[in-house]
Symmetry: C2
Subunit: 412 residues, 2 copies
């Protein structure tokens, strides 16, 4: 017994599940082993006592996102990523998590995974903690094997993805074959996403990215790759009710989490339209690049636009600018308003723009302009007189909206 206590995990096993069972027997509690991205690798079966969080983890083969989020917020995961010692987690009823202890599995400076042990009807002693550390060390080698296998698969995936992005694969059957060879379910509806970083992405950042992508559960990401300062994803929008909103959410969420969890700032997200034909992946990729280019030209106007669809009129701004320049056209109404502004030191043009930006809502526009609603009303009346604008005519207003934006860009 003394010998076993010294290091009961020296024995070599074939599968991780056997390791999980062994740890469970030694510590007398349910045990779960996850990889660095909180995917379930193995779990003990000898003990029937468990908690809801563990059940969902096992059923979904991954830790539920809300549990991960909670563990980040409350500090467990950050702690696990810093220390090689076991961390005690108090029960959190709102996410169905009982008392437990976790330890991270390290290979040099990199975390390969985690072991979780539930404290049901018992509290771990210092001795148990020592055992856990030894267990982590023993699992490490097994995990390394898994990882190298995974890496090879990832490499092949990346090559495939690049062929799709650059339009090198055009035959549908061939593409589907590739998907199957890589054991990826082919998607029927997809979008391409690009996250543009300020600097070239380092391999450390790559790990963070990989972690975030693997733990995101609302959108499937069959393929992703990195190109200099861009992270490029293929996302599946199958079975998603509001895909555009979901993509937007994903963009915001990814940027936010990179900032909060890994202190990586200034990431610009962009997503393409949705397509169903694999041949259009290249086109989708171009769309994301076009989004990035527009966002660079109109940073404030497109600050909360990530999707190509959502670009709206900015989709063809380049075309319109060219046409306007060619024909030396001037919007009469805007010209008149500018003249008035200059002469009377007023700001009717700005007023008009804010009004149109605010969906023609007098209340919110007045607030943004810091004037009384009646003032805005008065100004609008003057604007319609001076610019000969009929505010009931959507065509006129649309034109004004566009010309205002064009003008703004030409000013720069």
């Amino acid at each position: 017994m003394n010998n076993r206590c010294n290091d009961p995990f020296k024995t070599a096993f074939d599968s991780l599940d056997e390791y999980a069972d062994l740890i469970s027997q030694v510590l007398k509690c349910p045990v779960t082993i996850e990889d660095a991205n909180h995917r379930l690798l193995a779990y003990s079966t000898h003990d029937e006592r468990t908690d809801p969080a563990r059940i969902s983890t096992i059923i979904g083969r991954r830790v539920p996102e809300k549990v991960i989020n909670q563990l980040w917020k409350e500090g467990t995961i950050p702690a696990l990523l810093k220390t090689k010692d076991p961390i005690r987690v108090k029960n959190m009823d709102e996410i169905g998590l009982g008392n437990r202890v976790a330890i991270s599995i390290w290979k040099q400076e990199e975390v390969l995974g985690f072991i979780w042990a539930l404290e049901i009807n018992k509290s771990f002693t210092d001795e148990d903690f020592t055992l856990l550390k030894k267990a982590a060390e023993a699992v490490k080698n097994k995990l390394l094997q898994l990882q190298t296998r995974k890496n090879k698969k990832e490499e092949r995936s990346q090559e495939f993805f690049w062929k799709l992005l650059t339009g090198h694969l055009k035959n549908r059957e061939e593409i589907i074959e590739h998907f199957h060879a890589l054991q990826i379910t082919p998607v029927t509806s997809f979008a391409v996403l690009v996250f543009q970083f300020q600097e070239n992405i380092t391999s450390k950042e790559e790990q963070s990215i990989s972690y975030l992508l693997k733990t995101s559960q609302r959108l499937k990401i069959p393929l992703y790759t990195i190109d200099c300062n861009q992270l490029i994803l293929l996302t599946s929008t199958d079975y998603i009710d509001n895909p555009v909103q979901e993509l937007d959410y994903f963009c915001e969420n990814f940027v936010m989490k990179m900032k909060e969890r890994f202190k990586i700032n200034h990431i610009t997200p962009a997503s393409s339209s949705m397509y169903k034909d694999y041949e259009k992946i290249g086109k989708a990729y171009e769309e994301t690049l076009s989004v990035l280019s527009v966002k660079e030209k109109f940073p404030s106007e497109t600050a909360d636009i990530y999707n190509y669809q959502r670009l709206g009129i900015y989709q063809f701004f380049d075309h319109l600018l060219e046409k306007r320049k060619m024909s030396e056209y001037e919007n009469y109404s805007l010209k008149k308003l500018h003249e008035y502004d200059q002469k009377h030191h007023s700001n009717l043009v700005e007023t008009l723009e804010v009004f149109l930006n605010n969906d023609q809502n007098i209340h919110t526009a007045a607030k943004e302009l810091n004037v009384h609603a009646n003032t805005l009303n008065y100004r609008l009346k003057r604007i319609s007189e001076i610019g000969e604008i009929n505010f009931k005519d959507p065509n006129q207003k649309v034109m004004l909206f566009i010309d205002l934006k064009l003008e703004k860009y030409l000013e720069k």
Copy 2:
């Protein structure tokens, strides 16, 4: 005296004014002579009794437009254009017109002008009527001289105008010189108008056109010409408060009067933007042609648009169509709505278009759709869900508005 009564107008005089005075003396009443376009040619001065309409006519050197309009409505002018006999006009206080008698001056089948005689403190006898007819005959020759002189000037004007329209004159000083040579005040702000007829314009129609243009007083028309089925005008917008509205009014009014007065239907009006540089007359002309071309493509949408400015988004529809075709783009929201419509035999797309056309006014849009306002509200909620549209985002709405119109055109 008998001799004088027989034909007192046999004497030759140098000026028309002398004729006017003579007629006035013979008939013992104030007399006015106008050309066919109601411009004052001469008036008697011996008699001080007069009425407000005559005073305005003399001061403005033309019959006020409202008087002309009234005389058309009430039948005097149509009668004068039919018969060579004097016509009696009852007083019309609302336009300051006292009792009077008018006679038209003819050269074969064409009316050259009119003589007006006021019945102040007297009623004309049959003898007076005979005298008037003789006076008209006597004035005719004098008018013919004036007209040939005018025709020559008009010919030179037309040549000049064509040079401007086709951009053959580029030097500003040269252009101003031409204006002066033709005794036309150079305009500082102008627009080009085109009225497109269904058939080539006949010389009879030309007369009607000329009449209408000469009697129109709200806009000055320094130059005009006719090209096959198009009447082309240069209008001055100097000293006009709301020039765009005024141009629109002129277009509508001209079309309306051609229809009412001369039974000439189906005239399509078009007006350019306003310019100040004479070099841009050619450009302005192109704009009007572009308006006509758009109006042909989108007859219902642009039914009440005549001005290039007012074309709004239709100004660059051709460009957008091309871009859309090139990129095989599909508006996701519209696509979703179309799919829904097809599946459920609903008409969400139409609902959306009517709503946007009606300036997002639920009340008027519901009326146009013949549904309850609540129904429209419900549908809009569904539309925003199905199409993932945020109705508070003007950019999205603008895009939808444009894509709806583009789609409509592509359908055809």
